[in-house]
Structure formats: C-alpha cells, structure tokens
C-alpha cells in the first residue's frame, strides 16, 4: 500500500509542532498594551492617601458600631418598658406558696420598684434593693 503522502517532513516535526507554536506565541509577549503614560501616572501618594482614607473610615465604622451597640444595650437596660407585677397577684403567689418571683427584681408600681423577695424559714421577706431599711415580712 502506498503511503498517504509522498512529501516528507523533518524528524519529529508533528510531535513538536504544537510546542513550537506555543513558543512562537510566547515571543509575542506584549499583547497587552496600556494607555500612554499609564505606569508613570501611578501615584504612590494617591495609593497612600486612599489607604489612609480607607483605614479612617474602617476605624470610624468600628467605633460607631461599638458605640451604637453600647447605646442600644444602655437604652434596653435603663429605659426599657418595665413589667409591673400586680400586688394582689403577688400576695396570692406568696400565700399559695408558689413563689414564682422569688429572687427576681419586682416592679410593683411606678413608686415601689426594685423589690425582691426571699423565703427565710417560711418567712417571706420583701426588701427594696435601693433602701436597706424598706422591707415587708409576710408570715
């Protein structure tokens, strides 16, 4: 059978063909151009300025966020709506020996707040946290 072509090629021509093309393209390295005077126009001052501005705003953001969280916590603790406990309900709670509110700060009404009660030998002592001498004993 005759060979498909009577033309001859150098040894390993086809084997190296693709590699040679890659090398050829490689020689044409400067396919990416830049605008005129682009590299000269890169200003380190502008980069430094940009970095300092970024850092400033980042610090400002962190400080503001922390302040905001603190304000929210403060408002939540101090100005949050207090839940008042009904006096009759409280007395019944003690008399029925349920002691649902034992150890908790109690806000009975806007004038009597910060009360807590504890059970000492079946004596319920209600005391005001703000005033050491203000307490009630329920036997």
């Amino acid at each position: 059978m005759r060979s498909s072509s009577s033309f001859k090629v150098p040894n390993k021509y086809f084997k190296n063909f693709d590699v040679e093309i890659l090398e050829k393209i490689k020689l044409n390295k400067n396919i990416f151009n830049v605008p005129e005077n682009y590299f000269e126009s890169i200003s380190t001052e502008r980069i430094i300025e940009k970095e300092k501005t970024k850092t400033f705003y980042r610090n400002l953001f962190i400080t503001s966020s922390i302040t905001l969280v603190l304000i929210i916590l403060l408002v939540f603790n101090n100005f949050g709506e207090k839940e008042f406990v009904d006096e009759t309900f409280l007395v019944n709670d003690i008399l029925e020996e349920n002691y649902d509110y034992i150890g908790e700060n109690l806000y009975i009404n806007q004038y009597s707040k910060n009360y807590t009660y504890q059970n000492f030998d079946n004596q319920i002592i209600m005391s005001n946290l703000d005033n050491d001498f203000d307490y009630i004993i329920v036997e």
Binding site: F17, D18, V19, I21, L22, I25, K26, N28, K29, N30, I31, F32, N33, V34, P35, Y38, F39, I42, T44, I47, I48, K50, E51, K54, T55
Partner: protein, 192 residues
Amino acid sequence: MRQKKSVVISALEKELIKKLKNSKSKDSAFRELVNQSKKNLYFQIRRLLLDHEDTNDVLQNVYIKIYRSIQKFKEESKLSTWMYRIAYNESINYLKSKEKKYLFSSDVMYNTMINNLREDPYFDGDELDIKLQAIIAKLPPKQKVVFQMKYYDDLKFKEISQILGTSVGALKTSYHLAKNKIKKEISDNQTF
C-alpha cells in the same frame, strides 16, 4: 516549634523591607517598591483579568493591601513572591465578585472577557493570541495560573508553590495537565 523557612533574600531587598517596616521611611520605601514592581504586577494581574480597567482597579487594591500589611510580612519568602500572592488572591477575588455581581457562570464570564478582548483598544494580539487566551481562560483556576506563571513569567515551581501555597508535586501535575490540554486544543483547532 515551627521552623522558619530559609529563603535567600538579597541585601538590597532586606534593606527595602526594613525601610518599609519603619514608619519614618515607609512612604519613600513604598514609592521605591511601587516603581520597581508596578509593571510585573500589572501584567501578572492583566493576564488573569484581561481588561485594562479591571487590572488598574485590582492593582491599586493590591498596593493598598501591601502598604497596609507590610508589618505582617514574615520574610519567609521573597518580597516579590509575597506580592505575587496578594495580586493572585485579589485577582481571583475580583473575578469571583464579578461573577456574583453580574450573576454570570464562569463560562459565560470568560467568554465575555474573550469577546471584549477583540474590541479592546489596549489588546495588540492577533486571532492566534485570542485563541490561546480563550484556551487558557477555560482552564481551571489553579492550572491557569500555574501555566501563566511558568509560561509567561518563567517562575520556578518552588516560587509558584510559595505564591499559591500548593506543593511542588501538585503544581507540576497541574502544569502538565494544563500544557496537555492546551496542546490538544491547539492540535484540534484547524486554524492553528
């Protein structure tokens, strides 16, 4: 205890690093660093992003990062290797954010990038170059970057390993796979 990796850093580079880490000489040393490295970094990023405007944005961010984090540079590699790594990470992050922003799949994004290349006034390649860029763009990210660093920048596998944080063995495999894919695409393509 972790051992400090030994790398050969020239006296000039050591001096520059020292100046960069000193707040008094930082700005002038940074100016020197930018002048020394801007072209290399630019083209390294450009080969990944292809577009000049995108490259310009990323290059600025890379320098901002370098300026900000130079104190954290542990001198376990060459300064240029460390900068290459930042540039690589920034470029990859930029491409990912672009994908998310425009809801592109990777394929669509790379096709768009290649098509834009034909209209790009700052691209001087011919159809052959565009085709090579298209083949490279289709490679998985690691193979792509290994191929580019080896093919265009003639970096050693050891250096690429430090930049990408991958073992030399894995890099050699990636490069081999990338090269074979490119060769196959070239031989499959009638116009080459």
